[in-house]
Amino acid sequence: MASLALTLSHGLRDVRLELTLEVGSETVALVGPSGAGKSSVLRAIAGLLRPDVGRIALDGTAWLDTVRGIDAPPENRSVGLVFQEYALFPHLSVRANVAFGATSAGLVDEVLERLRIGGLARERPAQLSGGERQRVALARAIAREPAVLLLDEPLSALDAHTRDAVRGELRDLLASLRLPTILVTHDFEDAASLADRVGVMVEGRLLQVGTASALGAAPADPFVARFTGATLLHGVAEPGRDGLTRVVLDVGGVAWTTDVGVGRVAVAVHPWEVAVSRTAPEDATVNHIAAPSDPLGTIGNRVRIRGGPLAGETTTGSVERLGLREGETVVASFKATAARLIQLA
């Protein structure tokens, strides 16, 4: 099983990149805000950026080892890098682009067919749509038969409609390639749907690495929680009745959670765990926060509503049944098991 191991330390313009990561035959997504240093990680692996200190090795063979003075040039690293804006050669046809780094002519045709761009072989990149360019960029990277695949914001240059289709195709492709793949994105949903593991990167550091559901279930950091879509309520925790933890919220009120903690904490709750109603429901939920409502929009058959500090969801049907209007007081309810506790320093 192929494995890419990296340890990097590099001073970027605003932040210092400090990162250790091991990627097997799987897709790891690096997510985080722009400026976190995600693309620099890819550039360092590809050999386009030389880190101050670091080691990058594929199956034990070093591509970079600053201690031993090893720094293989990009052309000697078996990497397929798909650039954010695709970086197709404008003066070459689609076929010539794909053939540029291809290991054999037969492979070019195979890859063109596989990505369904055989019919575009003679076109120039300028004539292609965004989705087609993305496929050509992928084909070009794959035709090199790389040992490692690197994707820099592979979906960000696409419009919303094309994006959904390409996301599905890309997931199938990555699954069939089974290469160590690192994918950079600022969109947690893209990361969750494409990657086996997700690493949240902020200011040059990896805060947490894990499956998307693990990050949601046990965020190690308020930023990770917010990135997975959770709302944060700050407060002070203390042991309470029934083995639950009682959190006195800064915004007023109390929240109960099954997680354990003491002192300054953040309570993370995902919108899909929060029910919104006019009055506190008579069910298992123990947390009820009453606040003026503020509709945030509709997602499919669900309506997202902000009730004070919390974002919650309810069905479009119940919004009509309840006759909810903006500014009216609603109760946002969630279970103690849905409230994740993040200890703050």
Partner: protein
């Protein structure tokens, strides 16, 4: 209306002197005058020296421009300024500088002389004068053209397994070609028109160092029709140089939506 008048006046001022060269005597006589020994010798000298000079300019100027455009190193700005200096230098100063360098008693000339190589007042001198004066036009445009090649494209070539040489040949050079062609045309035009540095450093010896431009000046006193005929020839050659520059498509921007036709690289 004022704009229109100003434009017409400008165009007329630029075009009339050129047209006058062709209107002064009948085209047949103009063509016949080109058959004179002076004109023929000047044409041969110009052709020989121009071919060698432009070959040297492209051979040395292209890598120089690529390095200056793509690498950052201490003294880079100084190097670019040094390349630009001959552009603003009066040609007579260039001529006297070359003379005290390569002349018999010059800085390098004395050593060359001892080896039996004479430079001043030979065809070599014509070539060196043209390279010195016209070369910077090519390099300056070349630096701008290579500088405009999107570096992610050359990065992409590297990650696709191309070494520096293949990256240059398959990506950087083709993408900079329209700008380089424009630069070569500029330098060619400047080289054909070279006068000041050549006459000081190489003299004006018919059949040896007398180029077309020098011949126009020499024949001006002797045979006005020949001078006019050579002038007309230079007009035709210069116009012909502009054409390919206007016709080569430019690929300068990487996700270029449309291949654009442009003459020179405007900015660096």
């Amino acid at each position: 209306m004022i704009l229109f008048l100003a434009t017409c006046t400008t165009l007329a001022f630029l075009v009339v002197p050129i047209a006058a060269i062709f209107l002064r005597i009948p085209p047949g006589d103009l063509f016949a005058a080109l058959g004179s020994d002076v004109a023929r010798d000047a044409l041969i000298v110009t052709f020989e020296t121009t071919v060698v000079a432009q070959a040297l300019i492209i051979a040395f100027g292209t890598p120089t421009a690529y390095l200056l455009a793509t690498r950052t190193f201490p003294g880079r700005n100084l190097a670019i300024t040094l390349v630009e200096l001959p552009l603003v230098l009066p040609p007579a100063v260039a001529g006297i500088g070359l003379l005290v360098t390569f002349g018999r008693l010059g800085l390098l000339g004395s050593s060359l002389s001892a080896l039996g190589v004479e430079v001043a007042f030979t065809k070599i001198a014509v070539v060196l004068a043209v390279v010195f004066v016209a070369g910077p036009f090519y390099i300056r445009t070349g630096v701008a053209s290579f500088g405009e090649v999107d570096s992610t494209l050359t990065d992409a070539a590297r990650t696709l397994g191309a070494g520096p040489a293949r990256t240059f040949g398959r990506v950087a050079l083709p993408l900079a070609l329209s700008g380089l062609t424009a630069g070569a045309a500029l330098s060619f035009a400047r080289g054909i028109g070279e006068f000041g540095a050549t006459i000081m450093f190489a003299g004006s010896l018919q059949g040896v160092t007398q180029t077309l431009s020098l011949a126009v000046y020499e024949q001006f006193d002797v045979d006005f029709d020949t001078a006019l005929a050579i002038g007309a020839l230079l007009v035709v050659v210069s116009a012909a140089v502009l054409l390919p520059v206007k016709l080569i498509p430019s690929w300068r921007r990487s996700p270029s939506l449309f291949p654009t036709v442009s003459a020179t690289s405007a900015s660096s």
